[in-house]
Amino acid sequence: MDNTTVKNRQPFDDYGSMEEAMAPESFREDKDTDEGQLFLTPWQMIIRRFFQNKLAVIGLVALVVMFLFCFAGPLFYPYSETEQFYFDKDTGEELRADSDSEALVSSILQSMIPPSKTHILGTTKLGQDMLSRLMYGGRVSLIVGFVVVLLELVLGIILGGLAGYYGKWVDGVVMRLVDIISSIPFMPLMLLISALMISMGISPRYKIYVTMVLLGLIFWTTVARMVRGSILSLREMEFMQAADAVGIRPRNKIFRHLIPNTLPNLIVTATLSLGSIILMESTMSFLGVGVGLPFASWGNMVSLVNDNLVMRDFPNLWVPPGLCILVTVLAFNFVGDGLRDATDPKMKGR
């Protein structure tokens, strides 16, 4: 390749033109031979910009650590979520709930013992290991976050896509539904639903599934608004005229041509809402609306603080779960913000 062609090209930077970014496959292969020229696909550019953002990388690392702690941690940690521990008065040994029952009769429950070598964060009122509950509680929070976001994405993409593409009465109906749902005050609604669940006798084990579905049914509106908005503007673009001219089926036009174009925005929205859903779930669990005992959740673990004795003498029982929520939500927000900057360079640093 001679010098003139290289000179004519603009040096590649974050604001490189779309032509370069979308260089055909044949150009990309010889990227090393092209005198320092580097060709990247749009996704490679996004990933590159993302990793240049320090806060985003810190967030990502924190998330990986959190995930390992919650999902891989219990595999290596000897105690389970609800197992209770006893203390043998005679021998001074610690007994587990599954030890033979004769020894347990004469032993005492290890209730709220301070942090020690065997129980790094101490034990709860019921003599359960705190660190192990922290791991299982994190599982709940993270799973709730992902399931709810998945639900709201599915609902939001389908309904927002239909509203944006068909317009007219479809748009009217969907958007009125969005208006109605977003006008209902959220906290009273959750309180009502929780009262409903308690009186219908739904067991704590299933309450969490109901909670997830409900959160999904409420929060799809943000996604729907966003998808509809971007489809309204994308619909007028030339590639859509081409799609119209070729005569593709509407379903393919929506889901193969329009939705993929909203993908960068969708990913950002999804990441940021992961953070807010986890915050929401923990708030609900704190109020006793979400995940119920005996199952652990970071939110219901912090709610122990309502007991003045626990607040004063046992910060090891309520500070760690609170910090876990803070770190996880913070990390999702850092990553989401980094993704936004990376997908939209114009927004960089704003």
Binding site: I180, S183, M187, G322, V329, R350
Partner: protein, 325 residues
């Protein structure tokens, strides 16, 4: 413009009708209603007496019939009596709303007073240590669970910590004040320090981020460069040229934050023992007080709808480039 407003108001009415139907269905479908809960400890109550009570409260009708009944009365301005308080719901709500509104408005004031100047500062010192510090501060505020922050503050400053701030209520229970006095005002202030700190810290981030990103945009625009080129002093460029344009989205956001002024934060009010809308809603939903719940929730829904409407209209008022249609 007028046509736009009329159309929006009509749509809003439709939305409110939908909201009220959904809410009524939810409120009434609780199997344990007010009568069951309030008479559960009494052994002398018979089922007949309970049914008679239900009839007198209007809880014996089916859900659709009850809804139509509620709607007709509500449209005539009669929202019914609260079952718990045995007073008209409007009276109950107006007794609580002052406290919540006062606290929320005060918190909003602090959010604006701290958030906007910090946002401007961050925009001016973009990509410096100051900017990063402010950004991390904002993210902390957005991400911290309000109940955890409240608990930490109580732990550090409350009775079991440094013991310098009261942790519950609005006034010292042992103090007696006759009429208005400075001492009473100070007592209120001392009780409100922690709740308002929580409110402010948690919701300040939004204002700050908005201000920052919009300031960065306007500072980079041509007319600001022109102003600088012709030698306008820097503080004048920032505050009277650039900041004026930043006000547009802030004013819009202000309209949309109207409902939050009345709804209160259930968690914060609950943790600090403030007798406002939040704790009223909590009690009403636990005891199945249908009229009170309906009235309070509908009031909040109206606030939300009106808030959106105001923010759209304000948008056109502050920015003459925007034409509503």
């Amino acid at each position: 413009m007028r046509q736009y407003i009329i159309r929006r108001v009509l749509i809003s009415l439709l939305v409110l009708l939908g909201v009220s139907m959904l809410l009524y269905a939810l409120v009434r479908s609780m199997p344990a209603d007010f009568v069951t809960i309030s008479t559960s400890t009494s052994t002398r109550m018979t089922d007949e007496m309970r049914d008679a009570l239900r009839a007198s409260y209007g809880l014996d009708k089916s859900i659709p019939a009850g809804y139509v009944n509620w709607l007709i009365k509500a449209l005539q301005g009669d929202l019914g009596n609260s079952l718990i308080h045995a007073r008209p719901v409007t009276e109950v709500i107006s007794g609580k709303i002052g406290i919540t509104f006062g606290i929320s408005a005060l918190a909003l004031l602090f959010e604006l007073l701290i958030g906007i100047p910090l946002g401007i500062l961050a925009a001016r010192k973009r990509n410096t240590a100051t900017d990063y510090t402010i950004t991390i501060f904002v993210f902390l505020g957005i991400s911290v669970p309000s109940f955890f922050l409240a608990a930490l503050l109580k732990y550090w400053f409350g009775f079991y910590g440094l013991n310098i701030l009261p942790t519950a209520g609005l006034v010292d229970a042992r103090a007696i004040y006759n009429g208005f006095s400075i001492a009473k005002l100070l007592d209120y202030a001392r009780h409100l320090i922690m709740p308002i700190t929580v409110f402010t810290f948690v919701s300040m981030g939004e204002w700050l981020r908005y201000t920052r990103s919009n300031m960065i945009e306007t500072i980079g625009s041509d007319y600001v460069r022109t102003a600088r080129a012709k030698g306008v002093p820097e503080h004048k460029v920032i505050y009277s040229h650039a900041f004026r344009n930043t006000l547009i989205p802030i004013v819009t956001l202000l309209g949309a934050s109207l409902p939050s002024l009345f709804s209160g934060a259930i968690i914060t009010e609950n943790l600090f023992g403030i007798p406002g809308m939040g704790s009223m809603l909590l009690e009403a939903s636990q005891k199945g007080d249908v009229p009170l719940l309906m009235a309070a929730c509908m009031f909040l829904a109206v606030c939300t709808v009106v808030g959106y409407l105001i923010s759209d209209i304000l948008y056109a008022v502050v920015d003459p480039r925007i034409r509503l249609s």
